[in-house]
C-alpha cells in the first residue's frame, strides 16, 4: 500500500503503473482471476514465440530418412522442427518430400472434431525459404497473441463493470490492460520512462 503524507494513495499491481484504491484492488483481483489461466497460457506462448527466430538455427533440417511425416493437402510432409507447442495442437516446420518447399503446418489431435473434418494437418504458410517462413509465421503468431491479450482484457472488463461498477472499473481495466499488453511485449516503450521517473522521484521500483 502506497501512502503520501500518511494518506493511502493506492496500491500498485504487477505490470501496471495504475494505482488502485482498496475497492479497486478487490475488483482487480476478481477480474484478473477470471482470466488468470488464459493469462498464464498467453505468457507461456509468448515465451515460445520469442524463441521462434532462433528455432531454424537450433534445429537444422533433419535427414529425410529419419524425419516423421504429416499429411496435409494429400502430401506427406517431412517434419523439420516443432515451432510451438499449444495446449491442443502443435505448429510444425515441414519440408516437401520431393520439392524445394517448406510449410508451416498445424497438427491437431486426431480425435478433435476439427481434425475429423478438416484433416489432422493444416498448412498455414508455404515458402521455399525456411528462414523467411519461420520469420513470417513468428509475426503472424505475435499478432494472434495480441489479439488474445485484447480479448482477455475485454472479458476482464465485463467482470469489472458488472460486479464493481461503484469502484471506477475503468482504472481497474486499465491496470489489467497494461499487464496483458506487457505480457505480449507491448507498451514497454511507454512504461520504461515511467519506471525511471518513479525510481528517481521516490526511489520506488515497479
Amino acid at each position: 500500500m502506497l501512502k503520501r503524507k500518511g494518506q493511502v494513495v493506492g496500491s500498485m499491481v504487477p505490470g501496471s503503473t495504475v494505482r488502485l484504491t482498496p475497492g479497486q484492488l478487490n475488483a482487480y483481483t476478481t477480474a484478473f482471476a477470471a482470466i488468470s489461466p488464459e493469462f498464464d497460457e498467453l505468457r507461456q506462448m509468448q515465451r515460445q514465440v520469442d524463441k521462434l527466430p532462433h528455432t531454424i538455427l537450433e534445429q537444422p533440417s533433419s535427414s529425410p530418412d529419419t524425419a516423421t511425416t504429416i499429411t496435409a493437402e494429400e502430401i506427406e510432409w517431412q517434419w523439420q522442427a516443432q515451432l510451438l507447442t499449444l495446449p491442443k495442437s502443435a505448429i510444425l516446420l515441414c519440408r516437401h518430400p520431393t520439392e524445394n518447399e517448406f510449410a508451416i503446418i498445424q497438427r491437431f489431435p486426431a480425435e478433435s472434431a476439427y481434425a475429423k473434418t478438416n484433416g489432422q494437418g493444416e498448412i498455414l504458410l508455404k515458402s521455399a525459404d525456411a528462414g523467411h517462413l519461420v520469420s513470417e509465421y513468428a509475426g503472424w503468431a505475435q499478432q494472434t497473441l495480441r489479439f488474445m491479450a485484447s480479448n482477455l482484457v475485454a472479458h476482464a472488463q465485463c467482470v469489472a463493470f458488472d460486479q464493481f461498477p461503484q469502484h471506477n472499473p475503468g482504472r481497474v481495466v486499465r491496470a489489467i490492460s497494461e499487464r496483458c499488453l506487457l505480457a505480449v511485449g507491448e507498451s514497454l516503450t511507454v512504461m520504461e520512462p515511467v519506471r525511471q521517473t518513479t525510481r528517481h522521484a521516490r526511489g520506488i521500483g515497479v
Binding site: 499449444l86 475429423k116 463493470f161
Partner: protein, 80 residues
Amino acid sequence: MASSPPVMNEERQPNQPSTGNTMASTSVQLTVNEAAYAIGVDSFTILGLIQRGKLKPVRSPSGEIMVPKGELIRLIEKGR
C-alpha cells in the same frame, strides 16, 4: 451436418463447458474458450481462424469476441 456433431454446452457456467447437449441452436454465441472446447482445439487456434477469415465472430457489449454456434457448425461441416 454429419450424424455426430461435436458436443456443446447449452446451459453452461461462464468458461466452464459442459457435455451432453449438441449444437442444436445456431443463435447461441460462445466465448473463444467455449468454441475451442467444442471443436477440440485451443483458443489460440480459434483466434487464428478468425484472423484468417475462416470464422466470423461477433463482439459482446464489452468487446469480447464471441463465436456464433452456426459459424462453428459451418466450419466443421466444411471439411465433410
